[in-house]
Symmetry: C2
Subunit: 497 residues, 2 copies
């Protein structure tokens, strides 16, 4: 390689030429990704052994680097953009999401305060109101209604910030010793981020309540079970702090009853957070609005456009009804960030987003979500969501029509969960059934023709098929159904064949 | 606009065409950014009034959207990529950093566990060892030496994670009540993120010690002053937990004595974190290695390639000597993330980066830093850093040679800090001096020809000029010196003129 000329690092012609090479690389990747095994065979250490121990002393050409990405890195990736990726939840890429991220990355401003790049802060406030309206949130979460929104990188960050806000609001009454008495509530279906978040903000591990759910409520919480837990804690001198209601759980897509939980939370002064990380995208369709009925009783709501809303990683919307509760917990005012010219404006309702998040630095994420909303529009996004819901329901009907399979929880959005039933006469025992289901999942994923993940419900292993890839068409879902039936036959032959 | 066809969101031809339009837009921006006022005149609400209250119902064309970015957004940005941006610390963009971010965003994998995209996790481990070696870190922070590194989005995240690790290590001896007795130490020059981080993890606000520094130690901590504070706390029954040593403080670029603080920390079982957010990039040059002498006594080190290392936002390197301390505080093992095929490997030293950070989701940041290191090489990056150091020293010498100015702290890296002295005969009083300095900074920034920020040191207002933009050349620094002299004459005329 030739020594790098430091003056060339943002030379416009070099920038345009090398960036176009990357665009061509990625366009080729999207053209071919369907042909790759979705999950690679990649033994631990596979890449480390291929790469040198230290960076090169002299720079190398971009085409050499891209060639190596092609040869060494792509073959050891799990292809989240494959139309046959049905694992975890999808992470949508799109042309508009990518364009928005390029603008954010290219302009590369750092809008920690409004003054540090005014348009970036203002666009974020605008786009959070847009998104809140599109998702049918109550006015109390919009800037125009006294609340407001911020873009984080992840739900976990949103959870840590709202937990810290709730904690500090409680400790302002209790003094700091009170931290030992604070209790956080979630269901056995809630995302692990709530437990992790509670630990991070200093809630004792023994004060995290996992409330059981069951098939009777389709794995949603019941207000009665939360009330029992809350009242028992109050009776023991503990202080109920924070409750998570999930709209679209990770394991099964279950929905907690937001209004019932909101009423309970209000009664006990508990901070209610509505986590709609995955299903929040579906809320833009009126037919799903019922699932956030009662959201005006919540303190905060979050959802991830980087899952199912064509917004490339990372992008999490957090709305709060009381921005002051958030900023009391998270604000700092070091001198090197104070604005030498606009000090009077700071008091006049100017948003400084550094006080709405963990970090000081932050990227210009708002332009990404704004480009997505502009390029695809409300109608376009609803059509996109409904297409996946329809595919998931097709798959669910196929499972229901086949005696070998069971559907575990109703497919409310685009996640289908199912186990296979063994052919054996009589009761084969739970362990054997689980082993068969594991074997089926390993066979499906091992084929390279689709990728799914799993979940345990009531102690039983079930397969999760999350529909929602940007390039997923009905034919991929249909092919995957054929694949599942084929592998089912292989892993557990009918006794008569 | 035409309704969006959901099938087109990753169509390769549309992707390539619209992405090229964004590339051309950005290349044009880099070509012209020098001509724009670095800081805009943008009154609060300026953008909100230009944009509609809700997103469009039908999608719009990319050229329409880019035209609006050009017309409404660009004029209200502070231009961090301007070669005349000398505020805060720089946020470097570069062709390679941008290319790496495009690959991360375009492939859009989510490597929370190794199994979720093996190459992404493996590349991160490799690149963290590369970067650690390049910065001259002791082996104990490399995977190859029993430690390891992770890429976060920000120093704040690294601080919260290491504070949580230190806290849980301490609480495993003390029980949770001990959280009320934990004490965190930093200097009056340390970044506000330490105070914020300590609050987030539940350390009582009254247990954060701000140790004063002074000109006598060039605003670095002295081990003696920290020892006094630690011993006083121990005598009061408190538990010293965590100490921050900064290499290159935000306000003045000061350096704390890592070895002395490390010895003290070891003696008292305190977690020592070395924050080299800004100056860490300079550590790749041997002439700066002295500043991390003793780092093998630290528990963790962090630095931000997104500041001065040609790596677009966001990218923070965190290294720890004990990965187990980090993962004990941050690990979760929900069923939906367990790997159905490789369960045995998980015990065998496989890194699952979700347990090294706050969030579960994470972008493929490693490929960005890897492209930067490959494209520019160790020699190229050293040349880049030295060019800025030289420019900063030129500016410092110009200040020293002019009786109107003072240099407040030695320019160790590329940050110069200075006040102007008024012409007045006799002592004008501190307030008048501060007012004059504020006036000078407002005049410089108001000209649009450069942008700087300020700091307060020993109660006095000083101007900060942080050199380090990717497009900054010596002529920009020289022009800025002329601008400062010109504005100095305007805001405070010589009595005889």
């Amino acid at each position: 390689g030739a020594p790098f000329d430091a003056l060339m690092s943002l030379d416009p012609e070099t920038f345009a030429r090398e960036s176009r090479a990357v665009i061509n690389f990625l366009a080729g990747y999207y053209r071919d990704v369907e042909k790759y095994p979705v999950q690679p065979e990649a033994m631990p250490g596979c890449l480390r052994t291929l790469l040198p121990d230290a960076p090169p002393e002299n720079g190398e050409q971009m085409d050499v680097i891209l060639e190596e990405v092609w040869r060494h890195i792509v073959p050891a990736l799990t292809h989240w953009q494959s139309p046959k990726f049905f694992g975890y939840f999808q992470a949508n890429a799109s042309t508009a999401g990518f364009a928005g991220e390029m603008l954010s990355t290219g302009l590369n401003v750092v809008p920690f305060t409004r003054a540090a790049s005014p348009a970036a802060t203002e666009l974020e406030s605008v786009v959070m109101d847009w998104m809140g309206k599109l998702a049918g949130l109550p006015d109390c979460f919009l800037f125009s209604g006294g609340g407001g929104g911020v873009l984080h990188g992840s739900t976990c960050e949103a959870v840590v910030c709202t937990l810290a806000a709730a904690r500090d609001r409680a400790l302002s009454r209790l003094s700091h010793e009170g931290i030992l008495r604070l209790v956080v509530y979630a269901s056995d279906q809630s995302h692990s981020t709530f437990q992790k978040g509670a630990r991070i903000v200093g809630v004792p591990r023994s004060n995290f309540r996992v409330i059981p759910t069951s098939a009777a409520s389709s794995y949603g919480l019941t207000a009665a079970s939360v009330r029992d837990a809350v009242e028992a804690d109050v009776a023991s001198g503990l202080v109920p702090l924070y409750l998570c209601a999930t709209v679209g759980t990770t394991g099964l897509g279950a929905v907690d009853p937001v209004r019932d939980l909101g009423e309970l939370a209000r009664e006990h002064g508990i901070w209610l957070h509505v986590d709609a990380a995955y299903a929040g995208s579906a809320l833009i369709c009126p037919e799903f609005h019922e699932y956030i009925d009662g959201a005006e009783l919540a303190d905060s709501v979050s959802m991830n456009p980087h899952k199912w809303f064509l917004t490339n990683m990372d992008c999490c919307c957090l709305w709060v009804a009381s921005p002051a509760a958030l900023t009391s917990a998270l604000s700092t005012n070091p001198e090197y960030l104070s604005n030498v010219t606009e000090e009077s404006a700071a008091g006049a309702g100017v948003v400084d987003y550094k006080d709405w998040q963990i970090a000081l630095s932050r990227p210009f994420r708002a332009i990404k979500l704004w480009v997505v909303l502009r390029r695809y529009g409300g109608a376009g996004m609803r059509a996109y969501i409904r297409r996946h819901v329809e595919m998931a329901r097709w798959f669910e009907r196929a499972l229901e029509a086949d005696e070998r399979f069971e559907v575990i929880a109703p497919t409310r959005f685009s996640l289908v969960t199912f186990p296979i039933r063994p052919w054996h006469e009589g009761d084969p025992g739970d362990d054997a059934v689980d082993a068969l289901n594991r074997k089926l999942l390993v066979a499906v994923n091992g084929s390279g023709r689709a990728f799914m993940t799993h979940f345990m419900v009531d102690g039983k292993f079930v397969i999760r098929m999350a529909v929602g890839g940007a390039m997923t068409r009905m034919r991929h879902v249909q092919d995957t159904w054929e694949l599942v039936r084929e592998k089912a036959k292989e892993v557990d032959r009918h006794p008569e064949n």
